[in-house]
Amino acid sequence: MNSLYYQKRLSRNIGDKFFTSLSVICALIAILPLIFLVTYILYKGGSQITPELFTLEPNPPGDDLDAGGINPALIGTLIITSIASIIAIPVGVGGGIYLAEYSKGGAFSRFIRFGVNVLAGVPSIIAGVFIYALIVSTKILFGSMYSGLAGGMALSILMLPTVIKTTDEGLKLVPNELRYASLGVGASMYTTILKVTLPSAFRSIATGVVLGIARAAGETAPLIFTALFSYYYITGFGDLFYEMGSLAVLIYNFALEPYDAQNKLAWAASFILVLSILSVNIFSRILAAFTEKTKRV
């Protein structure tokens, strides 16, 4: 009769309680520092934000009174990330189109998909080392060594696997009926892809690409010896061929300075970087959830 009721003392119930509390403890240990981390960055960095931050050049370390602003680094990050996107998006989307639309699961496409996964696992600093050997040390870009352009190229290597993968997977989700219908009314393969399949996969591809860009914007390792760093305003097109600052490298350099003013600048830059990356992530998540809901209807 008793066996119909829950018995606290039973060894299986005690064991269950024990493991349940263990997993709760794991979750707490894992999540609490993470919450603390985010709030600390947002609080500490947010308190350093001033209007001048966005307009001034950073002062060279040593002048402890006034560190200046982060304008060149902010613009530099935008430029370098744009260069990376300009290279990686066409190549990646094109490659993804081939994998999803043309390849028939043969050896070549299997090899490329494998290569995409391998390239995604290549340490980011190796991308910097590669570009350094290929472009910086050979001065192949019109005799310039460290340059924003080289930095953008290094970042594009990191973005490429993400873009190919999201394009490939996004296109695979497009129902085949759409392709048949388009080909059936006489459209060529090229028109079908550009006018039918690509537009219907646009939102999922765009989400993946934007997340890839956000990830690239925070990468530091490929930039420290390709784009290097610069304290000066970016004034014109020619500056692409010279050292260029970026928020990520600014944080790295100024975090290691012994001066308080520079450290504060690093916190402010972190705030801007983290806030923009997190908002891009949250926005694209909401967009993705919204798409899912409308699709189900």
Binding site: C26, A27, I125, A255, S270
Partner: protein, 315 residues
């Protein structure tokens, strides 16, 4: 009748349309082979740049820890040891925490909405740039743990792992910041693979009277194991290649020490520190170290992909 005939005449595609089609297909083919070209390029460039150092030091490079640009003596043992030590130890801490958290958010201990919030929060954290984590480690984590490290040294100093006086940055801090970086990866991949285990397996286990944790340990975890293992290997690859946060907190010293409380080095932090101002045979030696790092992460990655293919869920 007249109209039908003209339609008939036009039923073939125009030459120009055909050509566009072929050009488009071949363009995408070329673009997709870029991946292979880049991968091969990275491999060849790093290999040939390291050739000078490779032919001079051979495999001795891997086991000596002299790094002296003045005497032209190079050996990367400290950095290789540091890379392996930090990545494996951080993984050792991350696996139970990450899998435990993943179990917590896939079981129904708390309402679904809370679990989903925790899940997406953890995923968001994977997006935080590692340089920001490094900054946080320098200014928050290091002062916070200093007391604890002193305690560790005072009471367990007789163990070689804790034998040095803690002075600021050290390998143990690097391991801890790596744990913070890897937790989101391991947790979200483990969560995904736990979610993929079919409901009927759980119901069957409950039906024959297994308790909740008996079900988790004997049914659900084994079924999700391949996915979790692949996630762990991906995290291992990430940990080996991770540069910024580790470089900022590990202390960057090439002097070899068994102690976790002394400054250390990893291959990637060595590259980050020295690449900018290296010349001569030091550059070649750095490329050699980069080559070693690349091989390590390639092996881990390829093994992970193989594992996923071989042991993917069969239910």
């Amino acid at each position: 009748m007249e109209e039908k005939l003209t339609l008939f005449k036009n039923r073939k595609r125009f030459g120009i349309e055909k050509n566009i089609d072929i050009i488009f297909k071949n363009t995408t083919l070329v673009l997709s082979s870029f991946v292979a070209i880049i991968l091969l390029g990275i491999f060849l460039v790093v290999f040939f740049q390291s050739f000078e150092s490779f032919s001079r030091y051979g495999l001795k490079f891997l086991v000596t820890s002299e790094w002296n640009p003045v005497k032209d003596e190079y050996g990367a043992f400290t950095a290789i040891y540091g890379t392996l030590l930090t990545s494996f130890l951080s993984l050792l801490i991350t696996i139970p925490l990450g899998v435990g958290t993943a179990i917590f958010i896939t079981e129904d201990f708390v309402p679904k909405i809370v679990r989903e919030i925790i899940g997406s929060f953890v995923e968001l954290l994977a997006a935080i740039p590692s340089v920001v984590l490094g900054l946080w480690a320098i200014f928050v984590m290091e002062p916070f743990f200093r007391v604890f490290f002193v305690f560790l040294h005072n009471f367990f100093g007789w163990i070689p792992l804790f034998s040095t006086e803690p002075t600021g940055r050290n390998s143990l801090l690097a391991i801890l910041i790596l744990v913070v970086m890897l937790l989101p990866i391991v947790t979200s991949i483990a969560r995904d693979s736990l979610n993929q285990v079919p409901k009927k397996l759980r119901n069957a286990a409950y039906g024959i009277g297994a308790s909740r944790w008996k079900t988790i340990f004997s049914v659900i975890l084994p079924a999700a194991l391949s996915g979790i293992m692949a996630g762990v290997l991906l995290a291992l690859g990430r940990a080996m290649g991770e540069t910024m946060a580790v470089t900022m907190i590990i202390g960057n010293s090439n002097a070899f020490s068994w102690s976790l409380l002394s400054p250390g080095y990893t291959i990637s932090s060595m590259l980050a520190n020295q690449f900018g101002e290296a010349d001569g045979s030091q550059v070649s030696s750095l490329f050699y170290a980069a080559f070693v790092l690349m091989i390590l992460s390639l092996v881990v990655n390829i093994f992970a992909q193989w594992l996923v293919k071989k042991f993917s869920l069969k239910y």
